[in-house]
Amino acid sequence: MLNFSLLADATDHAAATAIGVIQPAVDAPDLKWAGLIIGLPALSALLCTICGAMRVRSKLPAFITIVALIGSFVLTCMLFQQLGQGAPRVVGLFEWMSFSWGNADRFQSFSAPFALYVDSLTLFWMLFVTGLGSLIAIYASEYMESDVGKGYTRFFGGVSVFLAAMATLVMASNLVVLYLGWEGVGLASYLLIGYYYSKPSAVAAAKKAFIMNRIGDLGLALGISLIWVNYGTVDYATLFSVLEAGPTAGHGDWMPGAIPFLLMLGAFGKSAQIPLFTWLPDAMEGPTPVSALIHAATMVTAGVYLIARMYPLFALHEDALATVAWVGGLTAFVAATIGMAQYDMKRVWAYSTISQLGYMFLGLGVGTTFGAGYHVFTHAFFKALLFLTAGAVMHGFAGQIDIRKLSGLRKVPGFRLVSYLALLGCLWLSALPFSAAFFSKDTILTAALGSERSDFQFLGWLGLLTAGITAYYTFRVWFRTFAGPVHFEAGDEQHDAHDDTHDPHHAPVAGLSLGAKHDFHPHGPRWAIRIPLILIAIGAVAAGWPAYNVLFFHGENWVQSMIAHSSAVAGSGEVHGQDVLGLSAHLMTSIVGSTACVIGIGIAFWMHLADRSAADRVRSALRGFILTRWIPTTLENRWYVDEIYHMMFRLPLWAGSHILHFFDKTVVDGFLVDGTGRVPVAVARLFQPLYNGVLQGYAATMAGGFVLIAGWVFWIWLRGNG
């Protein structure tokens, strides 16, 4: 039977005293070539910039990026093979920041060299980051081909920058370098979301993403500062050894406890949790490869990585992990409910990403970093798969992504592979029993349900409900889009007529549907899109291998051991919880989870395939009943979160800025600046009537001058002399 057991003390404060045994780091100067993992994408970014400056009009930037990323992936594999799960290695690359001040009494120094901290968590993350990065770059080389010569170079430059920054973030050896990477991925995300810069909605989405990330970054920066103030170092190795030595006397009682909350804020901003999640759906304005790479697989997991890496710090406050769990659980539920009511396929997958990220945070919060890490791994693959299939649909149907306007695409020639790969992704997302995601989600929910804290148990049940909702909305999309009668409408981004004739794979479809714009022929994806899709699908299936290994062959759970050898060791134990309703926790989770998944798929089948009008009937039924009338519109309007933020923040800021503008114009500009200019004019005008040419004016001036002098003489000079 499955035998998961929680290694840590099953006491109430989650991982409070049990930071776990973190192996001390070892200096490894011979691994300097690992710096190329960051260096290659950076070099590719530089070369793409040169291509841009030289106005290259071919697919050269794509080749450069793909080669660089594959190189990074190969290097990562070599590094993994060399190090495996050994002690963490610190590879110093170059001296970056180092200063010291003070005198002999209070000597203080700050040092943040640009160095890499390579332990199993790093390798674990880098494997799927570089792997997926390369595959998606290959995919994008075809996907973006309509922009060759126009924005192609910019796109691949952005992707290279992103991967360099992500690598920096994951492989950093101290918090400052992590912050550098953090900001770098934010920047790359901004650049790539705003790729279609002539679309105002894209520009707004890019700004929103960047600004919301910034709010989280503030928390992260403050957290890093507090860490330095309290522990005197920002370096991981030193920090972990200091923490293991025991609780420190901080500079104030509240400071150490505040650190996890601040770090948490940063993580929530980057990983789109409540309250900073509204940027992620808007980020779908970017090209689909961007959505797949950045906003599904890699960047949004940076928050999870941060918490996993800094896991020992989260023991500093007893409520820190509970907060993470609650935020994660609630976000998962809320995002899933919104996903039920969206019509844009990419938006559904975006909310799904938010929801699954919520699961990961829930896992971190209830004390299983193993579950969270495993879910990150599996989620990266199947979510990338889903996004890329959506992208293939968009690519073929001129940008059409509305599920109300597409149907039965699996019967459209050229799209069969895409449809079945999407089915695979959907099944994984719904956590079909024995899929990879089933195991990862199961681990998390078991830890929650089996926990001794009743609020975690509640979150566990909520997570199971969310799983059912997830299955429903996932298959709502699949049944609507890929199954049923064939019907499609082209989107707005039609290629020119001559593009179609060049494409050998495009063929007219029999029974061309209604609503097709002038002579529209959908063209299926070519090999550059198909091969990455197939590879990612294989990866998604293979991601379940560690679990199969344990389940069927009593082997070692590779993911678990990867995480156990890192700083997140505290939560890497096998999950074992209390009995729930008489059954063991994991059994309960498996049964209820599977049931929820099947029920969800069943409801989706009924409402969206078997009888499509059922969806409308359900909707009007909900609106008819007084208690549920608000449900459909609220969900469609995404719980009005954007509107609430608009009122809470943007309106006061807008009002404040107008007030300040008014102040600036009238007081500073008008009164001070112009006023100072007007003073000489006014003074001149004061005396001007004396000089109008009439004799008496001059006489008056003479008299006035005489009076002044006389006054001075008599009053001051004579009085002074007595």
């Binding site: 000089y691 109008n692 040419g693 009439v694 004799l695 008496q696 006489a699 008056a700 008299a703």
Partner: protein, 110 residues
């Protein structure tokens, strides 16, 4: 007549000084505010009056005939100035047919 004023009469001196100041001030005001050129010069004569009165008063204070001597010269100068000023005024009047001093305001700054 010196017996009449054997002792220093402070009140006459003070009254005379006050009158001279006021005459001077009024003359100044008149000069600045009247537009008729001849009356303007009449007001300068008023200022002369004030000055002369002050001279006499201070001469009395110090017991000198110097004050009165200087008043003779004031008279001389006043006469010369009146003659020339009036001659100029007549010339100006001939040019513009008016005694308004604002008719001669071409040297303005704006």
């Amino acid at each position: 007549m010196t017996e009449l004023l054997a002792t220093y009469d402070a009140s006459s001196v003070n009254a005379a000084l006050l009158t001279s100041s006021v005459l001077f001030g009024i003359g100044l005001v008149g000069f600045l505010s009247r537009r008729n050129m001849i009356v303007m010069f009449l007001c300068t004569e008023l200022m002369f009056q004030g000055a002369a009165l002050a001279m006499i008063a201070f001469g009395r204070v110090h017991g000198n005939p110097d004050g009165q001597t200087f008043v003779i010269f004031i008279l001389t100068i006043a006469a010369a100035e009146a003659a020339l000023a009036l001659g100029l005024v007549v010339l100006l009047y001939r040019r513009r047919e008016t005694l308004d001093s604002e008719a001669w305001s071409e040297l303005k700054e704006c």
